[in-house]
Symmetry: C2
Subunit: 231 residues, 2 copies
């Protein structure tokens, strides 16, 4: 299963907010054996959001969109999803009922547009905030506020399933360029994917079947200089 | 001036690393009046990296690529840039000379491929690490390690210039949906761009010409509930 993420918001592009949602979703999906193939941030403009959703909907098994839900003028994601699928935006009775029962919101309490989702979409309820998300085809629309996004993802997490791999990290206190011979040996002798993350010490990521990763990690630990343990 | 960012790395897609480089570049560019229109993370695969670079090179005034530089098997960015421009990868004499003079590295000290950049590209020296970056056309290739990336960006920062705007943030201790009337008034009465960032209290971002932003911010501060000052 291959997934693309579309994170919506001028605040991400201007660096006012660091994109922790993409990292959180990446970890959640990886732990389910699902690969994120693209993660793209787009501005708060309907055309740009719709274009990214349409392209990734064609190319990947699912698209997760975060951000731009709610009632303010810069919350345009639902309109963009509707445009990408050539649907109308309609008020979801199911979302309104849920908000009334679980949040105590009457229709008049809610800002205009709060419960609007594309026609035919399945609403996703918001356990932490107000604005609902939705699922349309294989496109999942979640809020941008991290706590709301995370709670809503849990409602659909089981729809994301792949072959989970085992991961171990080995840390090496050597220059990355000096480790090249060890990386070569690792890839020759073990059936594992090797990733190398430099910056201070080098973190080496080993990924594959559990037994193979454990053997590779044991071998690597015995063949690199480990960092000094912290006091 | 409109820019796209391409951040390269499986570690970003799997959420092992949070994409602080995109946020840092977003802030730096915004402070120079340059808009980031797309920020896309791609996996460590030549085809995927080359595809993103080609598309954004056609669409935007400049592309900044970070990550995937260096000598390991998963450092594929230079090969991807070469492919996107249909050039060969060649060893840069200028990069080698700089590394010898400034890092004391002889050619034999360097791992194979360290100083390879696409033919005709201008090398960018690495004041913090080893692997050089480059500029080819309007594509800027920088390292992924944040300290290296930031130092290398400073070498080209003056090539990014737009019309800088003034920004002020006003914090409001009210639900976002309750602020809609104030947002409407702001946009009617002042020539400013209004962004709303919910989550706990609401941060309202006002952007435009300095005097106009200051007037709008004064008006807004007088018309929202300010958060309690922290003890």
């Amino acid at each position: 299963m291959e997934v693309a993420l579309v994170t919506v918001g001028d605040e991400l592009l201007a660096g006012d907010t660091v994109n922790t949602n993409a990292a959180w979703l990446g970890r959640e999906l990886a732990s389910r054996g699902v690969a994120v193939e693209r993660a793209t941030t787009v501005p708060d403009r309907i055309d740009d959001i719709a274009e990214a959703i349409s392209e990734y909907h064609r190319r990947y098994d699912a698209v997760i969109v975060t951000g731009g839900l709610g009632p303010t003028h810069d919350d345009l994601t639902m309109a963009a999803v509707a445009r990408a699928f050539d649907r109308d935006l309609v008020e979801s009775e199911e979302a309104l009922d849920w908000l009334a029962e679980n949040g105590g919101y009457s229709h008049e309490d809610l800002a205009e547009g709060t419960a609007h989702i594309p026609e035919g979409a399945r609403p996703l309820h918001n356990d932490v905030g107000v604005a609902p998300g939705c699922v349309l085809g294989t496109v999942y629309v979640l809020p941008g506020v991290p706590a709301e996004m995370e709670a809503m993802f849990e409602r659909v997490a089981e729809e994301f399933a792949g072959e989970a791999t085992h991961v171990e990290f080995v840390e090496a206190d050597e220059p990355e360029s000096g480790l090249l011979d060890r990386f070569e040996t690792l890839r020759e002798r073990f059936d594992v994917k090797v990733g190398s993350y430099p910056g201070g010490t080098v973190r080496v990521k080993l990924e594959g079947e559990r037994e193979e990763v454990e053997r590779a990690a044991d071998w690597l630990r015995a063949n690199v200089t480990a960092p000094e343990p912290e006091e």
